[in-house]
Amino acid sequence: MDAVTRAESTGDVKSVSPTEAIVCRSRTVRLRFADGVAHEVRVGESDTVLAASLRSGIQLIHQCKSGSCGTCVGRVTSGTLSMDSGAGHCLLPSEMALGQRLLCLSTPLSDACVQLDYPSSFLRGDGPMCVVGQISAREWVAANVVRLGLNLSDAVGFDFRCGQYMRVRIPGTDQWRSYSVATTPTELPTVELLVRILPEGVMSDYLRDRCAIGDNVELEGPHGSFCLRASQARHVMIAGGTGLAPIMSMLDQVRRIEGRRPKVLLSFGCASPESLFYLEELQARSDWMPNLEVRVTVDCGGANYRGAVGNPVGAVTAADVADSNTMAYLCGPQPMIAAARSHLKALGLRPENVFAELFAPSAQESLQSRCGTRQTSMEPEI
């Protein structure tokens, strides 16, 4: 766990009252997690700390609920918890002497405080973490796009949802950038990012000039709520440039759905044939997924280009979104998102079914990192 620290750490106490008032004489038990988060719960004289906590929505690690397995153990730091419920239990006298109690059998005889040895986020599993990854691949997939592979095998407990992004500290600097993960949790401990390379830029300079396989990189995340919605309706995805990254992750999530898989249309666009990338990856998804249709466009084709010229927004037609339940996912630069929103609205798509992930235009790369923001818009702005 050396490389891992939980990013969130607040000392706030949230008071929770039990949903059922079975209280004759109830006591207040304060549950303090390893990350400093504490919750208070009222526990009646014939109730147990575990039962009252679970009813109040406080998740505690437990299994057998009968004093046998030992997983719900906590350490009393003040007050008294009694385990004299008439059942046997697995704690040794030496553990009892240290103040350890099994919360599934424990009833408070006074107000009490219990220390737990795991963080409050443990059972949620969705909090951002600071982790260290090792660069395992750096591949130029287009003239201005690098696929960056990172090995997070030291990041015990790290997880994310398809579509989320990570903040990345550029090695040797104090600069941070945000990049969506292009792979899925199935590929962990490997994650891949798609990085657009600029003529000048701190990350661009690093990847072009100094990056070596094996370099350590600090990351923080996951962040964001851009993710696939459960729906059997068609999913329309519009990606511009490296905005393809979270879409790749979501495509591979759809590919692995166990059960009926929704139909997906992906419209992907880049500025020019030279900047197009991941065509092999998209062809492979088309081969693997009978439910997927992919359209690729470039803004300016040139005389010899035989593919479609246009933009990825215009490539989506009224027929594509004829089903009023169609879900849309947009990821790309701000003008593309705005154009897509108004285009989809004009085609009759419900605004609440449109989800967008904005990435900062390249010129704002440093601005974005300074603010530490990456806007995820859940709410349609149409």
């Binding site: 609920k65 059960g259 009926r260």
Partner: protein
């Protein structure tokens, strides 16, 4: 897609059938044959493993139930020492954790009827379809959502229903597994190779060489070709109906395939002089094969290669025959016993088992999947890989806590040498 064809393939680009390469432990959410009906009599309890998932079968009041064969308590195989205390339940022999056959729910514990865990947990259950003497199990993931597809979606197509699409003027309609009046006789046995090597061997268009001197082929005096080569893009015809099985038919004995009877350079000729044997192979995901008009015109041979672990599979070989009367049935049974089983399922197909096991070393650590050099005869192999990559309903993850994950354990070695007093020996119902 409309990529510019002038672009060349990148070194780091994905394999066109990468999901198939991931499927070392098989494809989940498909129907697989588990046992012959007559292997599991009333009240019987049997264990087996499919795609790394231990499964216990019990027949109660005629019906076969399938549950995960791993007690939630300490993980032992429930089938290791069958214990049934009521018609509706299955009990673990160790501490008496007792599960409802229908729902898998933990309904009691022999020695702890008050335990709070009762009613809060249970075993995964699996859908069962028993038909024409075979018990099929839908081996699904706990996260499968939606309806269970019908068994027919995981079996080869039926004839004569599909004659207009896939005509076969040279032999009668193959008896289908699901048809009334179909009698199925056959066997299943353990194969020591990855299941994909077995599937690929089964319809390999270039592998007839290994059967050249089979005693069955010699006795029939058939001019079995040395190989067959595809001559048009209609040689392999895909089956990818929205509601139906997904696979393909090798359209042998049409103008789209050319049989090779002689290799001048090597001075080798097909041996038989009695004329050609017409037949056709047809395979669907997750690996259900039929050889129409084989071993003889009026019957069909069906095969499955059911993954057990990533280096063992259960090889199912059955002959299906249309029998409308008791006389026809008796005649088929006699022919099966005296000819098909000894000369075909064992004699002829033993050569295939040999080939699959011979391939295992090259592919076991992944080398073969990247280093193999394929030729024109392998068109059909690559088609299978792509179809399987596209239409499988889920890739079985490498499991945890089951037989075959950790290799060479003392208990496995003890089983090999037949040491007495080893509980595991009683769990090997799927061993030959």
């Amino acid at each position: 897609m409309n990529p510019d064809a002038s672009r060349t393939k990148r070194a780091g680009a994905p394999s066109p059938y990468a999901p198939y390469l991931e499927a070392e432990w098989g494809f989940l959410n498909h129907w697989y044959p588990a046992k012959f009906s007559n292997e599991i009599s009333e009240g019987a309890v049997l264990g087996l493993q499919i795609c790394g998932i231990p499964i216990v079968l019990r027949r109660s009041k005629g019906r076969v139930y399938a549950l995960k064969d791993q007690c939630i308590h300490r993980g032992v195989k429930i089938s290791a020492r069958p214990t049934c205390l009521t018609d509706e339940t299955l009990s673990c022999w160790y501490h008496g954790f007792t599960y409802d056959l229908e729902t898998g729910r933990l309904v009691s514990i022999v020695a702890a009827p008050q335990d709070k865990i009762i009613g809060t947990t249970g075993l995964q259950t699996f859908p069962v379809h028993e038909v024409n003497g075979i018990v099929f199990v839908f081996v699904w993931s706990p996260t499968w959502k939606g309806d269970v597809p019908p068994l027919s979606h995981d079996l080869p197509l039926a004839f004569p229903e599909n004659n207009p699409r896939f005509p076969h003027p040279l032999w009668p309609d193959a008896p289908h597994l699901l048809h009334e009046n179909t009698v199925i006789l056959g066997l299943h046995r353990l194969g020591y190779a990855n299941w994909r090597l077995a599937v690929e061997n089964s319809f390999d268009a270039g592998h007839l060489l290994i059967h050249k001197d089979s005693s069955y082929v010699r006795a029939k005096n058939w001019a079995l070709p040395l190989g067959v080569r595809p001559t048009s893009d209609k040689a392999i015809q895909l089956i990818e109906d929205e509601e139906g099985p997904k696979g393909f038919i090798n359209m042998y004995f049409t103008e789209h395939w050319e049989p090779v009877f002689v290799n001048e350079r090597l001075n080798l000729r097909a041996s038989g002089t009695g004329g050609a044997k017409y037949y056709r192979t047809h395979i669907v995901v997750p690996g259900a094969l039929v050889v129409e008009a084989w071993p003889e015109d009026e019957v069909a041979q069906y095969e499955w290669f059911v993954p057990i672990t990533d280096d063992k599979y259960e090889y199912w070989e059955v002959i299906a025959c249309r029998c409308r009367t008791d006389e026809e049935r008796a005649s088929f049974e006699q022919r099966y016993t005296t000819l098909y089983e000894p000369q075909c399922l064992y004699g002829f197909n033993n050569d295939d088992i040999f080939a699959r096991e011979a391939m295992q070393d090259f592919y076991a650590d992944g080398a073969g999947w990247s280093d193999e050099q394929l030729g024109e005869m392998d068109h059909t192999i690559v088609t299978w890989r792509k179809v399987a990559a596209r239409y499988n309903r889920g890739i079985a993850p490498k499991p945890r806590g089951v037989q075959g994950v950790v290799r060479g354990q003392a208990v496995d070695l003890a089983n090999l040498v037949g040491a007495p007093q080893v509980v595991g020996r009683r769990a090997k119902a799927w061993m030959p």
